[in-house]
Symmetry: C2
Subunit: 363 residues, 2 copies
């Protein structure tokens, strides 16, 4: 299932905040075939630190497939034998340096100055991400979507699609979703992640050279992001009470640590290496601004919410609340709770366990 | 209810890790009267960033009373007309600079060098805190405790008391408790708080001058501590979706923020000012080392656990698990869940709502 990144370019884009960005470029991947009626397209939106590589492997020996490989593919719940699936790198995609991502944001060149935008990049919202995706669909000649689907921040985009372009969206599949707005608790937590970046002297108010990123702060930001994405059960099962080094008792020196801390730090450092600090801050703000509550009556799509039982980031009450709000506005919405031990990230890793409900919803 | 801090001094103490500390000093307060039989004493242990000032006001115009004022006092659930209540600043009490605390830790002078201990202070555990409290009780001539009570890290001390000194403890009242050991998820989260301190260049591997504390990192550490201590409900009720400044739309600049972030930052900065960074790191480790599971059959006390329904730091399953473990070891334990919107900190602020259950348990 080879799928090289394609690139979509918009000569210019005006943000919701009223600022102009010249030469907006985003990468995208597609799977399956667009049918003659052009009505079998499903747009998949990626999560906070995700990319357009939603499924498949570029090469057989790739260590990991795309991030929703359990859900998308031939014969899977989002069946690429039936549907034409599109996923694009968002505007301001965090994982800028993973070798595949094509995006436009603080780490990319502002054609008007010839320099990276840095902190002069305009603030963007989830709506801006969706506007660029809409232009991509125009370019692909797709008028209406069979569905828009996404996990976490991807679900925000999916929900936003339904209010921005009611005529274009038949179904919204919102996995591990915050509902119709980001909860103040969640942005207060992500603010702590951003503080780790901002408190790193290497951040320099966002005016760091690209090769001199605030890696310490970024690593700490991803560390906290991942911890919130996991669960009590996962930490207990994966690390237990083990020491980082069986020879070095944490009772004897503060520098002797526990295995969970070392494990999560290594995971976070790997993410930091391929990401951009300003992109993290801008995407955090885009999520905090997400709020379609006052516009939800405009949506014409049917909604399915799939929260994960022990999700610490977006607990199931947020999906429940969204279902109530949509129904109160006259819309159609349902919910299936995924029973999983993995926390928020189960919405990526084990989402196929809700595959039947998702498949039925897409019928 | 005036109660000036008294000071208890031990000429020396050997930690569980085998290191010697000369001239250990801790402050303490007492309320009520020790009866002639000397059997009406209740030891109250303070939480992570708490102090010996558990109840009452020093002066009538003190803005705030002690931290468990709703629970302890004449006619309250822990009735100082009946009980003699003692609370001591722990070893390594975090709030070193609040003007009242007397403690021994990295920020205090090592008599052998004449310099502050700094990072040369030995690692301590909850057991070490309890050993010093035990010496204080010897000094006060109290052989047996009617009860040991505490919230959060105070509950760890209370539970530890029951296994260290089974003959001295009749009852353990464990409020918002982690159970019989700290869960790996919790120390992974508190590790993120500590990372904020360690990543602050002003920390200097713990060898900062006392007037040049890593305040940025400390503030961030308390910010994350407090956020985990609160709840989704609290953040929504207290701050909602408000902007920090109604004139400055977060959509227009990253530096325009939300009110919850500004509010939590101010709260955290106030705590950082009166605390010591190394004490925070040492107390975090003491909590991470807490684990009495293999010794719980030694306890002879009856236990009451009072978790808070929506506690994000120590969710009720931890208390449930502790009750099962104690019963499996042949002990006697019960649980009352406090229904409250405030999260973990409801175990301080609104614990009187479980007052009846607590009063009955103390009979």
């Amino acid at each position: 299932m080879f799928s090289p990144r394609k690139v979509f370019e918009l000569p210019e884009y005006t943000t919701v905040s009223g600022r102009n960005i010249k030469k907006v470029r985003v990468g995208y991947e597609t799977w399956g075939q667009l049918n003659a009626a052009r009505d079998n397209a499903i747009l998949v939106c990626h999560y906070f630190s995700g990319t357009a590589h939603a499924t498949g492997r570029y090469r057989e020996d790739d260590p990991l497939p795309g991030w929703w490989d359990v859900l998308i593919g031939p014969g899977k719940a989002i069946d690429t034998n039936r549907y034409f699936v599109i996923c694009s790198d968002t505007l301001c995609c965090i994982r800028v340096f993973d070798g595949h991502v094509v995006t436009t944001g603080p780490a990319t060149i502002n054609p008007e100055t010839g320099e990276p935008w840095g902190p002069d990049f305009p603030v963007i919202g989830i709506d801006d991400l969706v506007h660029v995706q809409s232009a991509l669909l125009d370019h692909l000649g797709i008028r209406q979507l069979h569905a828009v689907a996404g996990p976490s921040a991807g679900s925000m985009q999916a929900v936003q699609w339904a209010v921005e372009y009611p005529e274009r969206v038949q179904r919204v599949l919102a996995i591990i979703s915050p509902g119709l707005s980001l909860h103040p608790y969640v942005w207060s937590m992500s603010h702590c992640m951003c503080a780790a970046i901002r408190n790193d002297p290497a951040w320099k108010d966002g005016r760091y050279a690209l090769k001199q990123q605030p890696l310490l702060g970024m690593t700490q930001a991803f560390h906290l992001l991942n911890l919130n994405g996991l669960s009590f059960e996962h930490l207990e099962n994966a690390y237990g009470h083990d020491w980082a080094d069986p020879q070095n008792d944490p009772r004897q020196a503060l520098s002797n640590d526990f295995r969970s801390n070392a494990g999560l730090a290594a995971l976070a450092a790997a993410s930091a290496q391929i990401s951009d600090a300003n992109h993290f801050l801008y995407m955090e703000r885009a999520c905090a601004l997400f709020d379609v509550r006052s516009r939800i009556q405009q949506a014409k799509a049917r909604f399915l919410f799939v929260p994960v039982e022990n999700d610490l980031t977006f607990p199931p009450f947020m999906s429940e609340r969204a279902v109530s709000e949509i129904r109160a506005a006259g819309g159609e919405a349902g919910m299936t709770v995924l029973r999983a031990a993995g926390g928020h990230y189960a919405g990526l890793a084990t989402i196929h366990e809700a595959g039947d409900a998702i498949e039925r919803f897409l019928e």
